[in-house]
Symmetry: C2
Subunit: 265 residues, 2 copies
């Protein structure tokens, strides 16, 4: 039966996949994986092949974005194909295209979800999900613009938190750090009236969300600039108005200063 | 060793848990679960007990919110305790309190993430994650206010999508439907100048995200009002400015009308 199942690998390693996801692999005729849209720090393809008893073919950015996932679609037209993706499958918007193409070819598709960096970061921070505004990605210096700063500033004016994903090029082993991101934001800030990333602004840094030992640190930007977050991937949050329970969480779980209590609503 | 592990159950049934999460249950001394903050339509506690070979104690809202999770904390002070939660553990903000209390008692905590309804809905819709503004919950009629309408309207003015979670009381088996939510929004709209939920506004409804057979339908509100979404849980998205790739996704995956292409940027 022709079918294409998108399976989320969740976070960190080969055990981030759900039991339902593993079952789909075991019963699929063809299994593909991509590992370039996100970083799974402790992932081993060999271990996943052992767990599932199946051989899994790794696809490159070229296979998916230039060849439009032709290999996956052709396999799905002949039998059950599973396509494994880090995190939750369509948070990397690039794979939506593959699903649309499958729909056009009348190939039935299903999704087995995985844990996403998006909900992991929000949850670990102790900040409330419904108080986040628009999310932004902070790119590497060669692609940097004022946009991320403007998104943070706009959310802040509305009292909302901003989740900043830091860019990564997994196929080149390049990961933007919190330190670099803060420096670039401060360079933009020099030209701005509204100050959201200066040394006395408050922010939350998070490294290796979803890993066994994530590092979470809330503090003033001046302090975060010299804080050692360890290995990537990293994320930044610029809080808007803090609820007192959010401040309590940042004090208890992220080493925020006690005086944060006086900055809440 | 004293320790408290929060384990996400992911979506739909007992196979939504990750392999890592299942291992934590197998090695824990005391295992607790709550099933009232979200709906896992096909979940069987008995199956999870069989899969893990462990007995699991169900906690009520009273145990967690009035007794402050005393049972969990006391177990964690004596050995390894696992606390199982639908979805990704801290998207239901109520459990952040338990983690803070554990930290105050010097009980080490860890999180094994699960798939969350938040990323599942965004991914299934084919809409781009970074174009969502503030999320809002639409409450039952007895708690309804103008707030959800105002959030949708504010996001819309910024060109952003709004994810509307529909309220549920799992312990009372009450679930707000898309139809009821739209009706209440239209009642508020009668008093407003900006029109975001009228019959000719565009919206996306989603039922049973994370389940084996989710129902996704994009269309005009007038059409969604009479569409049969089947069983709960349900969600609504009010899109802001659509990128042409988002429109393509809604046409191919959610039965949106072809003329949506002319409403993109």
């Amino acid at each position: 039966m022709k079918e294409l199942i998108f399976v989320g690998l969740g976070l960190n390693d080969e055990k981030g996949i759900s039991l339902a996801g593993l079952e789909e692999i075991k019963t699929a005729n063809h299994i593909f994986i991509e590992l370039y849209t996100s970083l799974l720090p402790d992932f081993s393809l060999k271990n996943l092949e052992n767990l599932s008893g199946k051989s899994i073919k790794t696809l490159s950015r070229h296979d998916l974005e230039e060849e439009n996932g032709k290999l996956v679609l052709e396999a799905a037209e002949k039998g059950k194909a599973a396509f494994l993706v880090p995190g939750d499958p369509f948070i990397a918007t690039t794979h939506v295209t593959l699903r649309i193409e499958a729909a056009k070819r009348k190939i039935p598709t299903r999704v087995v979800h995985g844990a996403s960096i998006i909900s992991a970061i929000i949850g670990l921070s102790g900040l409330h999900n419904y108080k986040f505004g628009k999310t932004v990605t902070i790119p590497f210096r060669e692609n940097f613009s004022e946009t991320p700063y403007n998104v943070i500033a706009q959310n802040r004016q509305l009292g909302l938190h901003t989740l900043c994903l830091l860019d990564l090029k997994e196929d080149e082993k390049r990961y933007l750090t919190i330190n670099e991101a803060l420096m670039m934001l401060q360079e933009v800030e020099d030209k701005k009236e509204q100050k959201v990333a200066s040394n006395d602004a408050f922010a939350v840094g998070l490294a290796r969300a979803g890993g066994t030992h994530p590092t979470l640190k809330a503090g003033f930007v001046g302090e975060l600039l010299s804080f050692d977050f360890g290995a990537p991937p990293m994320t930044l949050i610029f809080p808007g108005q803090l609820h007192f329970m959010e401040a309590e969480a940042l004090i208890a779980l992220a080493g925020a200063p006690e005086k944060l209590r006086r900055m809440t609503t």
